[in-house]
């Protein structure tokens, strides 16, 4: 129980429901499944009248962030993407010029996926789901750090894989911190959030289509990254793909590949006709236990890579000791390599970037890309046959 001091009495006072939502400041840790729901939150909270400048995402992960804000609050967890969250919480609690009123850190039971309908379900990793509980402990174990600073800690369990449940879950969690919040209003705001997220995803899929179209027209190679969404965080994925980009290769990510019907028909049509798969998004042929959203998408993207002639190289990123990734190593590698596509895995990503060995590995990959890409494209084009809609200049995204 914190001892009441003048400072935290004032803090309490300021955080009380003032009726003015535009003043309410909400912080969200930029971690884990937030990397696939970001735009939902921007759309959702804006629709509730939270000023954009008052919605604060923590900075990207860095060792300095953990050092300043998270040290000594870590928990025993070998998963760095979870462990680093202590630094994000700490930054939101201690590192803001203007204090936050709410630390919003949802626990995702399931996450949205474009494969929904074709797979069994889209759960998140149990470690990812429980991470907020786990990390919270480091701020409550000795003293209630949130309470002392007048910060409300809000951490609802959310079923993002079942959008109909989400408004109720969010309303229950936020009714106390957002003055006058009704379920109807939450439902409307959630719809705006979904729309924002879908717009964002669609925009990036169009960018990817444009990249592939440009490659197709010039018969030029590009690279596909297979990783979990949070590997886009420079402190977790260490921007390894950016070093390959600097060698002159466009980089696609498995989360944002084009999925327009004509392309899907060209890539998967024959298999569907044979009855091997039920839809272009069916992965039962390679991954029958399709319950994890990120894993399902990894496997689907591996299939995409195998069939797409201009993806001549796949880079796999995995964090140290990732139990979810472990069983996917061989299937993903085999799917990619069977098509003759180059495959390289960085499997032990952790807090520190092993810059020396990464530099040599990137140079190594660039060497093989330069020498083998032409043959790989020719071989995959022969296998896939003519008529790829990407080669048609008019398919270029606006």
């Amino acid at each position: 129980m914190p001892i009441p001091t003048l400072a935290n009495w004032f803090a309490r006072l300021r955080s009380g429901p003032s009726g003015d939502r535009a003043q309410l400041r909400i912080g969200i840790p930029r971690t884990l499944a937030i990397w696939s729901t970001h735009q939902f939150w921007l759309g959702f909270f804006a629709a509730l009248g939270i000023a954009p400048r008052n919605l604060v995402f923590s900075s990207p992960t860095s060792e300095a962030q953990y050092h300043h804000f998270g040290r000594g609050r870590g928990t025993v967890d070998c998963c760095y993407p979870v462990k680093c969250m202590a630094g994000h919480y700490g930054e939101l609690v201690f590192g803001q010029k203007r204090r936050l009123d709410v630390l919003f850190s949802p626990m995702f039971h399931s996450i949205p996926s474009f494969l929904d309908g074709a797979v069994k379900t889209s759960l998140s990793c149990p470690r990812v789901m429980a991470a907020p509980e786990n990390i919270k402990a480091g701020f409550l174990k000795e003293r209630d750090v949130f309470g002392e600073r007048g910060i409300r800690y809000v951490s609802p369990l959310l079923d993002f894989g079942e959008p109909a449940l989400v408004p109720g879950q969010l309303h229950a969690a936020l009714a106390e911190v957002i003055p006058g919040l009704t379920l109807a209003e939450t439902t409307r705001a959630a719809a705006i959030g979904w729309a924002a997220l879908q717009r964002f995803d669609a925009g990036l899929r169009a960018e990817s289509a444009a990249v592939l179209g440009a490659c197709a027209r010039r018969d030029a190679p590009c690279i596909l990254v297979l990783a979990r969404p949070y590997h886009m965080d420079p402190g977790i994925g260490h921007e390894i793909e950016g070093e390959l980009q600097a060698y002159g290769y466009p980089i696609l990510w498995g989360q944002y590949l084009p999925i327009e019907p004509a392309l899907m028909a060209w890539m998967f049509g024959a298999e569907m006709q044979r009855g091997d798969i039920a839809s272009p998004f069916d992965i039962a042929d390679v991954w029958p236990s399709s319950y994890s959203a990120n894993t399902n998408e990894l496997l689907w993207a591996a299939k995409f890579a195998a069939r797409m002639p201009w993806i001549t190289c796949v880079i796999r990123l995995t964090s140290y000791e990732c139990g979810m990734d472990q069983p996917t190593f061989s299937p993903v590698q085999e799917i990619v390599e069977r098509s003759g596509t180059l495959f390289f895995a960085f499997q032990e990503l952790d807090a520190t970037k092993a810059a020396g060995s990464i530099k040599i590995r990137v140079e190594t990959i660039a060497h093989y890309l330069e020498h083998a890409s032409g043959d790989i494209i020719r071989q995959k084009r022969r296998l896939m046959g003519a008529g790829c809609p990407l080669e048609d200049a008019t398919s270029q995204a606006a």
Partner: protein, 727 residues
Amino acid sequence: MTRLVGVDVGSTTVKAVLVADGAVRWQDYQRHGTRQAEKVLSFLERMEAEAGLVAGRDRIFLTGSGAGPLAPLLGAKMVQEVVAVAAAVERLHPDVRFVSEIGGEDMKTVFFTEAGARRGKQVYMQAACSGGTGTFVERIAKKLGVTPAQLAEAAYADVSRHEISAKCGIFAEADANSLVKAGVPVEEIIASLFEAVVTQNLATLTKGNTPLPTVLLLGGPNRFFKGLREAWQAHLARLWEQRSITLPAGAMVDDLVQVPPAALYYGALGCVEIARTEPSEVGGYSGLERLHWWIDVGQHEAKARAGAKGLAGDAEELERFLRAYAAPPAPSSLDPEPEATVPPGPRTREPVVIGCDFGSTTAKAVALSAERRLLGSWYVPSKGNPIEDAKLLFGRLREAGFEEVAGLALTGYGKDLLRDVLGADLTVVETVAHARAALELYPDVDVICDVGGTDVKIMILRQGTVADFRLNSQCSSGNGAFLQGVAERYAVPLEDYAAHAFRAQAMPQLAMGCGVFLQSDIVNQQRNGWSADEIMAALASVLPLNVWVYAGQLRNLQAAGRHFVLQGGTHRNLAVVKAQVDFIERRVPDARIVIHPHAGEAGAIGAALAADEARQSGVASRFRGFAAIEALHYRSTTSALTRCSWCTVQCRRTFIDVAVEGGPGRRWSKVKLAEGWERVISGNSCPKGLIEDKDELRVVKSRYEETKRAHPNIGELVRAAAFRAVR
């Protein structure tokens, strides 16, 4: 009156107390020089003579890493070390909330909670790595020529400090060396070491708990090093301020972070505390008879039992091994034709291709004939000036009689620096060069293991490409330099290492892992009576474990493949090869293991093969010619303007400016360079130093950004846009 004896047998010292009537009647603390049993014997003999210790009446409890084999000999009960320390603290300091005990080769922390009469405790300990322990500080201080007395008095407060790796003792040594080279005063390095020890303890042994006042610091290093105490005080004071910990009114940090006078004896005192809580028949002191027997007979028998079978195995096994690996390698396609030996003959007038490997310690070159036969190899030790190294190396090639060069390729650390200066046709990354050299002879190779003097590289191949690559970068364990150091200590030339090691019938088992502990383990085993031959055998046999598991982080060898190629200079040592073969075959029973016939020059050969491929594509070589290289005109500048400013080490770099036709010059540089000149930077201790300064970074960065703009990265678009409000 029953006397209670507590003995703490640590990794470097023995501490003992005798308590009667609730008061300490006898105590001593001495280094045991790895003779733990002998030291305990002499302590107990003195207690019997000086303090009336009597067998059959009095009680004895032992703790510490060396107590295990001794306790049953004395009738003593074993107490776990952290439990012992905590028991003493609970009794003597009811108000203490946090304890750090740092030992020679371990470190522990204990957190006490306030709850109730029986206080909760949380204990953490680590003893696998030297980072953060007393050895870490002492070893480096010794290297710096700091006496123990100076070390004890060295200050922390008000001394500038520098970055030193706290993770690994050997890397810390490397950091300390570069600080010395950069002219940093010794006192600042020592203060930085204290900083590293405290940082490491707080980083690894707090696990989410805040060390609260009052804090107790125990163990030799905390007791003896004034600077270490100051470092703790500074760190804890800052931490308490950050975490808004309410301190007792008027308390000074000195009062809240204490080193008690008996700081060395808490393990031993804790034994006595535990003794008080145990029934009186537990730990009855049985006298010294069996300890005498142990010292004279028992420990030697135990040693023989604990030791492993010799590295060589039996005569038949050794012969089988030597037949497979010591015989000259089977003729390979790279071998020179018998009549085409170098030096000069008419054949050398034919065009050759040259591959060079500019490493950090040596520069090597090989020449291949048009039929890809190896015509010879040359090497020069690196003098730190790549231009001079290159001139010397190409001088050797010229002496050998080569005239026409049809292709030149470079690999190694210096490849990009020298590419334009020498007119190389291409540069080849190290991994690809090594793989190319192995694939030339063994097209189905799966794993290449290259153990050099200072690094370990493991390359895993799939579909003829290097699919995975491990470079030991976190830990220095497992390289060849260590082997060489030990051989030198025994005055055994490296060529004779294997013969000595194979002579050993048995060998001690050395600890895998940290090179610092490996070194002290060797000293221990030597004192245990193991001979030089036996220790050399043991060292070779632990090397594969360090290479694959500790440095390479590769636990499942079978998944990597079955065809292994061993190369790198360290694999010229057959004792190492025997250990590698045993190690690999145990894990991959159907493994095929070969030593590359040109183990030391594989990198240069790979480069030459790549150059030959380029030659076959019909492109004329850009090679500047021997005469031009010999005549290379350069000027070097070492001044305040060339000093590296990327980090606190501030390496004293040298800019070597070479006059080269078409050289781009550096207009923006503080040390201006006209067109027609090329700059090569040397003297830096990390790759960052190859970029001259902020101005060059700007130039490099804008080029980099341009490439990136032309080739989008979807991940980067996400980073840039995903967390911004929708417009």
